[in-house]
């Protein structure tokens, strides 16, 4: 949008050491010189400043969370803002771990995320493969039902699912947390769309060689679909880790709580201002793992989460 000018003037024609506009003839627009003051200003105002502001608005709160997680109550309960903690003392993390069973929460969250996402990815793979490569009479109807399920908000189902799972004895159990979310419309949809783009010829030659569906799936389809599977897996991992409303409802004992639910418990136990450091330590533990995964693999996550925007 801004600063389209540099392309107009070839690099060699104007030396970089450009003086202010006075030397430019009247007819030429001022932005024709790449290093002119007006052009630099335009690049800064139109390009860098908004970007820098946006990035700071995102990062400062997170930086504040990390810094505060190392502060002692005395450094927080004060009218003068102390930006840096006096020392990198993990005291708050120790207190958080002993006030509530944080190790247990972390373990539960990890189990729920790994088991839940693992099963979901496999179910999505199997269903998408069946929908694309196996003959079946009602495939279109089934696909439409999956599409509709994709649009049914999970939030309106919490009461009936609570009654169902609690009736099955799943309250305060990890399987009770995992089970209702296992059916995956999102992963199935995304992988199906990808499988449809695979050339049929590679499967046909495998079929001639006598490879059954199972071998075709794992030896041909899966190896060529790694990026799509990674997308589904990462989006699933992120949402399982962050999932809040369902674990909140189905657990009320600390032993079976996940990290987000456990944080609520920590919030309840620390009423006054002195508890903020401990709560920030808790927030770090729930936020940083996902932030790290995102930093490493953001391409897949962004692509997966914004799916549909291009076709929609």
């Amino acid at each position: 949008m801004s600063a389209p000018a540099p392309a107009v003037v070839p690099d060699g024609s104007t030396p970089g050491s450009s003086t202010p506009d006075s030397s430019t003839p009247d007819a030429a627009p001022p932005r024709a010189r790449p290093f002119s003051r007006a052009n630099l200003l335009q690049t800064l105002v139109g390009g860098y400043v908004p970007l820098a502001v946006a990035v700071l608005v995102v990062f400062l709160p997170l930086l504040w969370m990390v810094l505060s997680s190392f502060k002692q109550p005395g450094e927080i309960v004060t009218l003068d803002l102390q930006v840096l903690p006096a020392a990198l003392d993990p005291e708050n993390y120790r207190v958080a771990m002993t006030t509530v069973p944080f190790g247990q929460f972390f373990l539960n969250s990890t189990i729920v995320t790994v088991v839940g996402s693992g099963i979901k990815v496999i179910l999505a793979l199997l269903t998408a493969y069946a929908l694309v490569f196996v003959r079946f009479p009602f495939k279109n109807l089934i696909f439409i039902l999956i599409l509709v399920a994709l649009m049914v908000p999970a939030q309106v189902s919490i009461l009936p699912n609570y009654i169902l799972i609690a009736g099955m004895g799943g309250k305060n159990t990890l399987w009770g947390i995992i089970l209702p979310g296992l059916g995956t419309a999102f992963g199935t949809f995304l992988l199906r769309q990808h499988f449809l783009t695979l050339p049929g010829s590679i499967l046909e030659s495998a079929e001639i060689d006598g490879a059954g569906h199972w071998r075709r799936l794992w030896q041909i389809v899966v190896p060529v679909s790694v990026p799509s599977i990674a997308t589904v897996a990462l989006v699933t991992v992120v949402s399982e880790w962050n999932e809040y409303i369902w674990p909140l409802i189905i657990t009320d004992k600390p032993e079976s709580m996940t990290l987000p639910v456990g944080l609520t418990l920590l919030q309840n136990s620390e009423g006054n201002g002195a508890g903020w450091g401990i709560m920030m330590a808790g927030a770090v533990l729930v936020i940083i793992p996902i932030l790290l995964i995102f930093a490493m693999l953001q391409r897949y996550i962004v692509a997966g989460l914004t799916q549909g925007s291009v076709t929609g």
Binding site: M1, A3, T43, G47, Y48, L51, A54, V55, L62, W64, M65, S68, I76, V77, L81, L123, A124, L126, T127, Y129, A130, V134, R135, I142, L145, I146, V152, P153, Q155, V156, S157, L159, P160, Y162, I163, L164, L179, P180, G183, A185, T188, G200, E204, I208, W241, N242, Y244, I245, P260, T264, Q267, W276, M279, A283, V286, I301, V302, T306, G308, V310
Partner: protein, 325 residues
């Protein structure tokens, strides 16, 4: 895919002529092969897809029906007995002060979060679309909050908004102001939750808008630029109209997710004073102090109908778009 290419134990014809054989083969034999094969495929399909389909049926479709049933009951959660009361829960909701309060909160929250994240998202997308260095990093950075735990984010911002020891209170003291009572004043609580929700979600809008901007026809934009249209003019009379499919997509998706926003509301304003949207009211009624399961189900059904209307609107739009392009 292509039946004539499969191994055929019956045909012992030479390989060279094997390809042309199926056409001359008697029909009944062909049909018989077909049906054994399709029976096998039938079983394979069910074995692969059934677990997932059953899970979706039980935990996505069944609850919709159950919700409607529960909404006709006068039922305390945890109690063994319930009385069928027909539409009484709906009548109670719509005739009580609850309906006005909850629907107004939902409307304000949805309008403000959708408007806020779309406008700011578009502005950031425009900045990201400029040809300066570092846009790739900035794009990831602004998207990051969207993938973070709502609970963690809510706690961090609750600390920032803390009227006693928060950063915001400190800044306001610096300019001689007192911090507003973000937590105790219901109206300010709503403002606070809206601000944080926009912070968390505007990166999504920015990235989707950016994809839209980058798919605009570059030659047309350049032609307009050569004709002397300034960047603002180009934006208003070209980019904006051309972006309308993206804008509509975002309007629908952000509206759907705002209507389901739960995590931030729960962590920042547990009592829901001033911030009780439909979804939060449904949660409070069933799992808060009252355990009014039937009443909560009725509110959920109201929410579901609203979400359904929006989704159908979106589908009709897509249909139209596909039809005309």
């Amino acid at each position: 895919m292509t039946p004539q290419l499969t191994a055929k134990p019956g045909t012992s014809a030479p390989a060279a002529t094997g390809r042309t054989m199926p056409q001359s083969r008697p029909v009944p034999q062909n049909r018989k092969r077909w049906s054994t094969r399709s029976l096998r495929d039938f079983v394979v399909f069910l074995a692969l897809a059934l677990p997932n389909l059953l899970l979706i049926a039980v935990f996505t479709y069944l609850p919709l029906i159950n919700n409607i049933y529960y909404s006709t009951l006068n039922w305390t959660l945890g109690s063994a007995s319930a009385a069928v009361v027909g539409l009484e829960n709906y009548v109670t909701f719509f005739t009580s002060a609850d309906a006005g309060r909850v629907l107004r909160t939902t409307a304000v929250f949805t309008a403000a979060t959708v408007g806020g994240s779309m406008v700011l998202g578009l502005l950031i997308a425009l900045a990201l679309n400029s040809k300066v260095r570092g846009t790739t990093f900035a794009r990831s950075a602004v998207f990051a909050p969207y993938v973070l735990s709502g609970v963690g984010v809510g706690l961090v911002w609750l600390f920032i908004f803390d009227p006693g020891y928060g950063v915001l209170a400190w800044i306001l003291r610096g300019v001689g102001q007192q911090s507003p009572q973000w937590i105790n004043d219901p109206q300010l609580s709503l403002v606070m939750v809206i601000i944080v929700y926009v912070w968390k979600n505007l990166g999504y809008c920015a990235v989707v808008f950016l994809a839209g901007l980058q798919s605009l026809p570059q030659d047309v934009m350049e032609a307009a630029s050569l004709d002397g249209a300034g960047s603002f003019r180009r934006f208003v009379s070209m980019s904006l109209p051309l972006l309308s499919p993206t804008t509509f997509f975002l309007l629908i998706t952000t509206m759907l997710s705002s209507l389901q926003a739960f995590d931030l509301i729960r962590i920042m304003t547990p009592l829901g004073a001033g911030t009780s949207t439909l979804i939060y009211e449904a949660y409070l009624q069933a799992f808060g102090a009252y355990n009014r399961a039937g009443y909560s189900a009725a509110i959920s059904v109201v929410l579901f109908v609203i979400l359904l209307v929006i989704t159908v609107l979106q589908l009709r739009f897509i249909e139209k778009k596909v039809h005309y392009s």
